[in-house]
């Protein structure tokens, strides 16, 4: 009898070994390194002095915004809304190659497809493998500034995101240095930004800063009352070497549909502070919005004409919004959007009550 029992032993041992290995792997990934202690000011100075000009790496973006999740590949009533939702809610993996201010390439890796943005000098190409389409744009010559090229507004590097957040630092935020971490195999300092205001949905923002170069390696936004980060952008793989030059030389493939684009003459800088404005309403046709409050509990108000009628009537919106006192609310863990009954929009990283009081002010 004992021998029969012995024969089942591998069936018990093998899964146990695999489980132990998986656990050990996840512990190792978050293991703290013994870095020399630094003050928040010193770490901030490191970020400011970061000298990385060229890199190739893999980025992972995940979010837990509490938006309704659809099964992958499910048909959707509104393609545009669904793709906007997808960009916000679904996880993404992208490879990024940077070489100086003039060369950048971002490859968003979808299943069986890829979206590319290639910047080579003043030329910006985008390529989508799904419909084999290419867009081409020539930037004005003055666009060549900054240490590395900003490739695409949708997917930024942790560096670009962190720089924007740190640029907006003011007295409303406490800066501390958390426990040392390890990102993409590199020991890093954790810079933690905590809002002083109690009236915001943002719990804290942590930025992992590479201990050698000062390059921000990950940005994670923690929402109040939620254990998982509401938004996380992290390098899973990073090589600080200039990528091969032919990666940036893009020739449109034969048979591709090419669109020439011209950029509207408008300042491309959005007001920093809120890293991801919901809905992407920063287009040229947006009427003047008003901003009340400052720092973390800013509320942005849009007048009634701002919202296109077809968006209000969209079934997806009806599905996502819930009726509240004074209008409808789209609630995510980081941002609340209140659509009042008279068509105005109030948005901010604040609880619903503050949006309602802002709506009642006028």
């Amino acid at each position: 009898m004992t021998r029969l029992w012995l024969r089942w032993l591998p069936a018990v041992v093998v899964p146990a070994v695999i489980a132990a290995g998986a656990l050990a792997g996840s512990f190792q990934a978050s293991a703290a390194d013994n870095l020399p202690a630094k003050t928040p000011e010193q770490v901030l100075a490191m970020v400011g002095a970061d000298t990385v000009r060229a890199l190739s790496g893999t980025l992972e973006q995940t979010s837990e915004l509490g938006l309704p999740q659809l099964p992958a590949g499910a048909p959707s009533s509104s393609a545009d809304m669904a793709s906007a939702l997808d960009l916000l809610a679904a996880p993404h993996t992208a490879r990024i190659y940077l070489d100086g201010p003039a060369n950048a390439r971002v490859q968003v890796m979808d299943q069986l497809a890829e979206r590319d943005v290639i910047r080579h000098g003043n030329e910006v190409w985008t390529y989508s493998s799904k419909d084999n389409s290419v867009t081409h744009e020539t930037l004005p010559a003055a666009g060549l500034k900054g240490k590395t090229a900003a490739a695409t507004p949708q997917l930024q590097t942790p560096d670009q995101l962190a720089q924007r957040m740190l640029a907006a630092l003011d007295a409303s935020t406490t800066v501390t240095v958390g426990q040392d971490t390890s990102v993409a195999g590199r020991p890093a300092y954790a810079l933690v930004l905590t809002p002083r205001s109690a009236d915001t949905l943002v719990g804290s923002v942590s930025i992992a800063v590479d201990s050698q170069t000062g390059l921000p390696l990950s940005v994670a936004v923690q929402a109040r009352g939620q254990e998982k980060p509401a938004f996380r952008l992290v390098f899973t793989d990073l090589v600080l070497q200039a990528p091969s030059a032919d990666l940036f030389a893009f020739t449109p493939p034969p048979g591709a549909h090419i669109t020439q684009r011209t950029r509207p003459q408008q300042a491309d800088e959005r007001p920093p502070g809120e890293p991801r404005a919901p809905g992407g309403n920063s287009g040229s046709a947006t009427p003047a919005h008003t901003v009340s409050g400052q720092g973390w509990d800013t509320v942005i108000a849009l007048p009634a004409t701002a919202m296109p009628a077809d968006l209000t009537a969209s079934p997806l919106l009806g599905h996502a919004a819930q009726a509240v006192d004074g209008g409808r609310l789209i609630s995510t863990s980081l941002v609340n959007v209140l659509l009042t009954n008279d068509g105005r929009i109030f948005a901010g990283s604040v609880p619903l009550a503050r949006l309602q009081s802002a709506a009642a002010e006028r």
Binding site: A11, T58, L70, Q107, N132, D237, P254, A256
Partner: protein, 297 residues
């Protein structure tokens, strides 16, 4: 001393006067040869391989007969690439076959391994021979692996051949928008075929284990294919994201990473580790079940 002598000891301590061929025999090679002969001597096996080969051929013929190149963005992935380079018919064939056709045929073969012998009543005789249960299990699994290779090639090779016959062979556009030459595209096709073969070995191990549970081969086949479908469904549900990296079908479509520029090897590695894990776990389970089983049939 004949290899079939029942008095032959089962452990590794061979008598010194054994002929040189006996070592070859002890390693189970004759058993594997006869197993492969039986597998590929079956009409069922050839019918499945023919159906698999028909998939890319059908795609190629339909695309050739329809007017003009396919509209990009519609139909299976890479369909519009086919008209640029006929070799991509093989890739399109693999895209179409990997969710169902390939797992179905693997399930049939893997589910039949032990249960088939059990239902025919031949399992007893196989075990009377000094094969040993472990060796029989290994030989059965090796044969299932051989079928994984054959099934993948049955899609890729006829696809490439038909594509070359019906379409021009020229530079081809990768997912990243870069264009590569013919030689490089042959290499990519072979890499994709290798990836798909690796993707299927975990399923074969699951099938082998299920096959040891029963004497009804159809039941084992059905259970294996049901598991494939369950795995695919779970993989599409965002609510169980934590489970996704552990599903054997999770990386099946990531062979597209080999068609990027530069090649992204991370999914190849992750897939290989995952499949190796499935072989280890379900191999151990199959051993536990088969070694402690009362073979009566």
């Amino acid at each position: 001393m004949l290899p079939s002598d029942p008095s032959l000891p089962n452990d590794s301590n061979p008598p010194r006067d054994r002929p040189a061929t006996a070592g070859w025999a002890r390693a189970g090679w004759p058993l594997l040869a006869s197993e492969l002969q039986m597998l590929f001597g079956r009409r069922r096996t050839w019918a499945m391989l023919l159906v698999l080969a028909a998939v890319p051929v059908l795609i190629a013929v339909v695309v050739r007969l329809s007017s003009g190149p396919g509209t990009p963005g519609r139909g299976p992935a890479f369909l519009d690439r086919v008209t640029q380079n006929g070799l991509f018919v093989g890739v399109t064939g693999l895209v179409v076959s990997i969710p169902l056709f390939l797992p179905l045929t693997i399930s049939v073969v893997a589910g039949d391994t032990i249960a088939g012998e059990g239902s025919l009543g031949t399992l007893r005789y196989l075990l009377v021979a000094p094969a040993g249960r472990v060796r029989l299990l290994l030989v059965k699994y090796a044969a299932a692996l051989a079928f994984c290779i054959a099934a993948t090639l049955a899609v890729a090779v006829p696809g490439a051949v038909v594509g070359v016959l019906l379409f021009p062979v020229g530079p081809v556009t990768l997912l990243s928008g870069d264009t590569i030459g013919v030689g490089a595209s042959v290499l990519r096709l072979l890499l994709v075929a290798a990836y798909v073969m690796v993707s299927l070995v975990g399923l074969a191990a699951v099938g082998l284990f299920i096959s040891t549970l029963t004497d009804v081969p159809v039941g084992a086949m059905a259970a294996t294919i049901v598991l494939t479908v369950v795995s695919a469904v779970l993989d599409a549900l965002p609510q169980v994201t934590w489970l996704h990296p552990w599903l054997f079908s999770h990386y099946w479509f990531d062979f597209a990473d080999l068609l990027r520029q530069p090649v992204s090897w991370s999914s190849f590695g992750a897939n290989a580790w995952l499949q190796a894990g499935y072989i280890a776990v379900f191999g151990a389970l199959a051993y536990g079940r088969f070694a402690s089983k009362d073979v009566l049939s």
